[in-house]
Amino acid sequence: MIEFKLPSLGADMDEGTLLEWKVDVGDTVKKGQVVAIVDTTKTAVDVESWQEGTVHRLIAEIGQKMPVGTVMALLLAAGETAPAGVDAGGTPRPASEAAPAVPAAAPAAAPAVVAAAPGRRMISPAARKHAEEKGVDLDSLTGTGPHGAVTLEDVERAAAPRPVPTVEKSAAEKAAVQQAARAADMRKTIAAAMSRSKREIPHYYVAEDIPLAKALTWLQAANAQRPMAERLLPAALLLKAVAMALKRFPELNGYWRQENGNAGFVPGAAINLGVAISLRQGGLIAPALLGADGKSLTQLMQELTDLVKRTRAGSLRSSEMSEATITVTNLGDQGSNSVFGVITPPQVALVGFGRIAERPWADNGGLKVLPVVTASLSADHRVSDGHRGALFLIELNELLQRPEELDK
């Protein structure tokens, strides 16, 4: 039995529709004879048979669309008789050989990434940029990228507070190792941030001595009516005053942003005071008191206490680490007389308070002894000028002379 199949009808054609049979059952078919007309996407074409025989059965119907290779008819070869009852179903079987099964193309040799020159670490540009922004020291990192390259991800992992690797040692030893590793890491992070600050930010400094007699007497009276647990420290007063003053000096509260080529000041969405908290074994972190201007002294005191506890326990939330819009450093009663700090990039200002101490104070011709604190401002000259910085400190001074108004 000879199967007559739909031939391939052109380079760009996979199927055809039968328009017309030119032969009928019983007709004899000679080589090259046109047996049907088939419509392709382009045009109707005469289809010839290359086999010879007599038509036994026409399978394809007029209007039937079929892929190339479908059996359209059955022919009896010369001298062959029809086997009884055979009804060879015309299952469409694409005869055309599938695209030659060729072994998968040899992978084009990936261009060997030239290992960096010896001594030159392989660090992706993205990693390099991110490390600088986050103040991560690249030398301390081992790369997980191709050929040991340091990738952006490596830097991000280093920037976030690191789970310290556990080592089979006694609990105390483990704690000590953890502590040392954390302190070392911290030191490197601070070093990178501070050197970048000094490199990029043109600091200017202004200072103001602020008498605190009224403020401290008000504080002592307030504490007298409060349970010990709600006792307020002078720091709370100072922080609240800074927050209130910033409302009239927005150019000190925000960031210096570098976006695709142009750089400029971006004002902070809220007044989030980064409070510099020293860790017992060295190192400093400045988590943020969010929206300090809107909080009462009691709230500020509670949040401050909580921040110090969690900072020292190493369980700060990452958002607290990065949302400060300005930093306040307070040396406290163990500190020196004054402090002029280094701005934490990308912030644009830093307020410093020295030790509150009794000092001689000229008061309308006479000499008094009063508790005084020296408040200082370091600010980014790209964003604000000394004149505005000074006015800010004067505003701070006036606020601290009316302590009762701060407790709102």
Binding site: N223, L233, T305, Q334
Partner: protein, 83 residues
Amino acid sequence: MTYSEIRAVALATLLSIAPEVEVDELRDDRTLRSQVDLDSMDWLNFLLGLHEKLKVEIPEADYAKLITLNDVVTYLQKKLGAA
């Protein structure tokens, strides 16, 4: 409570704030805050700890009397004695 019992409570409270302190090297007669790095927050927490454990009120005005460990213990003993 005896002097040494009160002293033990004071040292335990101190350790909870400054775990790195070498308790046996502390000198009772030297200013406490020069031997141990306690900022105003730590000092407040230290007194708060004593207040909670010994149920003793320590008004801000008395801060000036509490310079050495000995001062602290005798002050507490007096407060407890009177109670």
